[in-house]
Symmetry: C2
């Protein structure tokens, strides 16, 4: 069965069939559906491995992130896999654990020529090292920002999102608002952006700041840092945690101490992971548009893979929204 | 730099260097470390893509599961990726959403010859269809059981684990113990195994059964099914949910109704996802040994890929333990 036969059956050109089979973008959804229907009826299975090799491609991209078992990354990965499937790409997942050596290996081509491009959420690696990278595999940075990094990058506006959360807590009459999630050990720059947004809102209202640091964004560290905040006198009446996992850990500590959320301490997070929709109380958070983040990252990577080398890096923004729930509003 | 040079520097045979570079299993950890140290010092980067092609291999395996954003699968995927890395395998993740067509496509070779083997957690596909499979890509079933399926399979003893949970609830003096998580729509057979274990324990103590069905194992369905159980008169004094997500959804419903866990309704789940360690109350559960499940699945796949065709399928078991927490014991 040749492409010509398939084109005849689908009533489209051979070129169009080729575009669909190769996963190229410039085919309308209707035409694509028509061709795929014929392909499915004919049980047509291209040997993509051989074809990709001829094109110098593997048809596989890597998604490298700190940890797949953090719900935010698991949810984001789902969307990246879905977006990549539209280009017939398979997605290999590499976990770096935020470890500098493992991030270097991802960036440094130890992927052994088995992937066409990499979407990376960096944690430990810095701008200087990224700029000095010699491997020319297409690269897109997702979420975490490396300032002035020489790579395409997509994220939400972290400063504005953090300011929105803090404004929300101020609007509820809270005056001793702590931030939980500042970091000394990450080069990625997201924590400083969220801290900056928090500080902007406090400064506008002349309120004092209290900042708790953590090394990683896990429940256990949120729980431990919250114990430190509860020991302050006076203790905070609201806490903005820089992600939902930290907030859920902090919630556990507050409730286990016999205090109430939000009556004694209001709590907000960021990420909108599903856990926070079913906790008691439910968790106020910022919902990044994860589907949009994934779609933009995959689109940028596609353009980078298909494009000419040396094109300047681009910055892209995905949307977000504040989602107030019981942990600040009460029941 | 040839394998011979590397062998000389590492003080091992050329064959051993070859075994390490190719990710074969029969090299001692110490010897492997010695060779990898030399490889790292020399910045030796084999073009695995070309080498694998010569061997008829891609060096990539697929992990196909219903949904990456269910915490159990995300946690399990982490361990599968780690275990696969020991064989220098990359892991492509495919999400089936438990959809029959998508499971068929995974099993049917639409992976386009891009993977050497598949680890599949099936949901919708049945034994008959699995037996009729024509694609000969190496296959291992993980977790969910397809009865008499013609493929290697690894899981925990689901009947015994469910019986252990139910015995735990009976031991605490509960007498109206409901099961939440029976399924009509899955061909995979895990729900019936857990139901069987629950029934065995009740039968031994002459207690009546109450069974709530769901379609999928999500928080939302646990929350909805729990509302149905609370409407019973008398309502259950304990609920064994067939996974932790269902239990966390159920917990939300109970607490939102103004009832207490465990005083009014004791709750237990299964999976030991991290969420349940930080909920209030913390969640009693069964902890499958996820690292062992992943390691066995990868080992079985390795043997299947390297072995001769036609070898009979094998059954393997991973361990588990009951983890009693506040949702049954109280604080």
């Amino acid at each position: 069965m040749s492409l010509r036969d398939i084109a005849r059956l689908a009533g489209v050109s051979v070129k169009t069939v080729s575009n669909v089979v190769n996963g190229y973008a410039h085919v309308s959804p209707e035409t694509r559906a028509k061709v795929e229907k014929v392909l499915a009826e004919l049980d047509y299975r291209p040997n993509l491995s051989a074809r990709n090799l001829r094109r110098g491609r593997t048809g596989v991209i890597a998604l490298a992130l700190p940890e797949l078992d953090a719900p935010y990354f698991a949810e984001l990965s789902r969307f990246v896999i879905d977006a990549a499937a539209e280009h017939r790409w398979l997605v290999v997942i590499e976990q770096t654990d935020g470890d500098l050596d493992r991030e270097r290996r991802v960036l440094d081509g130890v992927r052994d020529h088995r992937v066409d491009g990499v979407i990376l959420t960096p944690f430990a690696i810095g701008a200087e090292e990224l700029a000095a990278r010699t491997d020319d595999t297409a690269l897109v940075l997702l979420g975490e920002r490396i300032h002035d990094g020489p790579a395409d990058h997509v994220a939400i506006d972290n400063v504005r999102a953090a300011r929105d959360v803090t404004e929300h807590l101020i609007g509820l009459g809270r005056t001793r608002i702590a931030a939980l999630g500042a970091q000394d050990n990450s080069a990625s720059g997201t924590a400083p952006l969220r801290l900056a947004g928090y500080r902007q809102a406090l400064a506008e209202h002349g309120l004092p700041e209290t900042v708790a640091k953590v090394e990683r964004y896990h429940r256990a560290e949120g729980a431990a840092a919250m114990a430190g905040l509860l020991a302050l006198d006076p203790r905070p009446d609201a806490v903005f945690c820089f992600n939902d996992l930290l907030a859920l850990g902090a919630m556990r500590t507050i409730l286990a101490a016999g205090l109430r959320v939000p009556e004694d301490v209001a709590l907000a997070g960021l990420d909108d992971i599903e856990d926070g929709r079913y906790s008691t109380p439910t968790l106020t958070t910022v919902a990044p548009d994860k589907a949009e983040l994934a779609r933009i990252a995959v689109d940028l990577l596609r353009q980078r893979i298909d494009g000419r080398p040396g094109q300047p890096p681009r910055e892209a923004r995905a949307g977000y929204r504040l989602v107030p729930r019981e942990s600040t509003l009460g029941r």
